[in-house]
Symmetry: C2
Subunit: 286 residues, 2 copies
């Protein structure tokens, strides 16, 4: 598959793209935001958790005096559906370098009552104000070149239900982590790939919140076919990503008692570790 | 140093030990708890973050219908001091297998106003109700035998200020991660050791919340001498620990922009991974 075949005719830019439009929140009153959750970011029957995190992250970025999520912890309560939602934020503390906020996303039941979907706690800062020192032992994941990785057009849809999110992403997965799609999971809890937005918009901190939860679950490579709903996900944004595709590597080391952790790291085109995340997910065996 | 020299004459038990007394909360009204934060768990001038997490964890365990923290995310707002505090909890959602709660710990300023110290979001379950399946690629840290590891009595106090917490722990650190104490940090962001409570009380899930933040910071081995305050810490408790000493390994891979992550894992005497944590900490370069 050639690069040209998938490149959008005109690249979208940060601030004017599908991702920006679908995560845009409208301030109803100070700290309260309305949004219509897009059906474009669903997977199976649920709205993707990373998209939801980006929505909450955008609301908090407006409500807090600092612009960028440095660390955001989300507890997923009930499954979100496409449609109207409201985000209620609270400023917990404002400091010179960091401010902390809380936000909840609610949808409505048949009687119009608010039902809480997700609650997050987050500390925000200004990535552009950080010094450029780096002392790291972390190394980027080794991935084949993008043209040797696989996208959704290279095989049958691997799962039943909505795959809408697939059309909005430019995901190219490392064949070494795609055994599950051929019925031969490797048994290793690893998933790796190139990540971008389909319309060519470059990544910003909010897109990193999407990126950490956008690959197929590592559980597929462990041989688990069912749904693996996130209980909690915490993401650290460590640097504003450079333009260009991202590399995402996800690892699960310990599946036990029906739960597993998924550790994600995201690297930018300048070989910088731009985000780390860990989630606790529940394995629905059966 | 012989084992006998440090073993308490009579081992404390879970429920009747210094750790239990110092984390005990008194219900003032439903969901609201008073506590007198003990000076026994201070390090330098601050109350240890793991001890505080255990206090909040105990309050939530009382307030929620499930007993055990499965995942708890704490954002540290202002430094806690020994003395009176109040914990206010909120039940966010109760489900069959998991319930989610929020809690904040407040202390008082000179005028008696509440000042928030920490806020946590947590999902609780029942560890004893989980199936005993384990599929893991994680392996316990390789540590020298306890008698070849070093405790506080083996050297001068490494840092200025209070070391009260040291007397309440039975920490035996791997000499390979103690270069900093001899003025020769390894440059690797690793810290490993045996962990127990000094009075011999075995670990339970609340003690795991202490264990993930009880070792010296990995930053010391990177050559950073100053304080490394936690911005956010999330801990997953994966299993009720077996009796006996724990092994704790902490790793930092990426120091950048004045922040670093610390990943901790805790293993029990049956070689089970009983807890994982990650924190984002701020480097105060001096």
């Amino acid at each position: 598959m050639s690069e040209a075949a998938t490149a959008p005719l005109q690249r979208a830019v940060i601030g004017d793209s599908e991702f920006d439009r679908d995560t845009a929140v409208t301030r109803r009153e100070p700290g309260v935001y309305d949004i219509d959750l897009s059906a474009g970011w669903t997977i199976i029957s649920a709205v993707n958790g990373g998209y939801l995190l980006a929505v909450l992250g955008r609301a908090l970025g407006d409500a807090l005096p600092h612009p960028d999520p440095f660390t955001i912890s989300a507890h997923y309560l009930t499954a979100s559906q496409p449609g109207p939602a409201v985000v209620r934020t609270e400023t917990v503390r404002t400091g010179r370098g960091l401010s902390t906020g809380q936000a909840s996303l609610y949808q409505y039941d048949g009687q119009g009552n608010e039902v809480e979907r997700i609650r997050v706690l987050a500390s925000y800062g200004d990535l552009d104000a950080l010094p450029d020192d780096v002392r790291t032992t972390a190394v980027p994941p080794v991935l084949p070149p993008m043209e040797q990785c696989f996208g959704p057009e290279d095989g049958p849809a691997p799962i039943d239900g909505s795959n809408a999110i697939v059309d909005r992403l430019s995901l190219r997965l490392d064949p070494a982590t795609l055994g599950w799609a051929l019925g031969a999971p490797s048994g290793k809890g690893e998933m790796r790939g190139w990540f971008g937005l389909a319309d060519g918009r470059d990544a910003d901190p909010l897109a990193l919140l999407l990126a950490v939860d956008a690959l197929p679950p590592t559980a597929f490579e462990i041989g688990i076919k069912g749904w693996v709903p996130t209980v909690e996900l915490t993401a650290h944004v460590r640097r504003r990503p450079a333009p260009g595709p991202l590399r995402v590597a996800i690892t699960t080391r310990n599946l036990a008692g029906g739960f597993l952790e998924e550790d994600a790291e995201v690297w930018d085109s300048e070989d910088r570790l731009v985000a780390q995340s860990r989630q606790l997910a529940r394995v629905r065996l059966g």
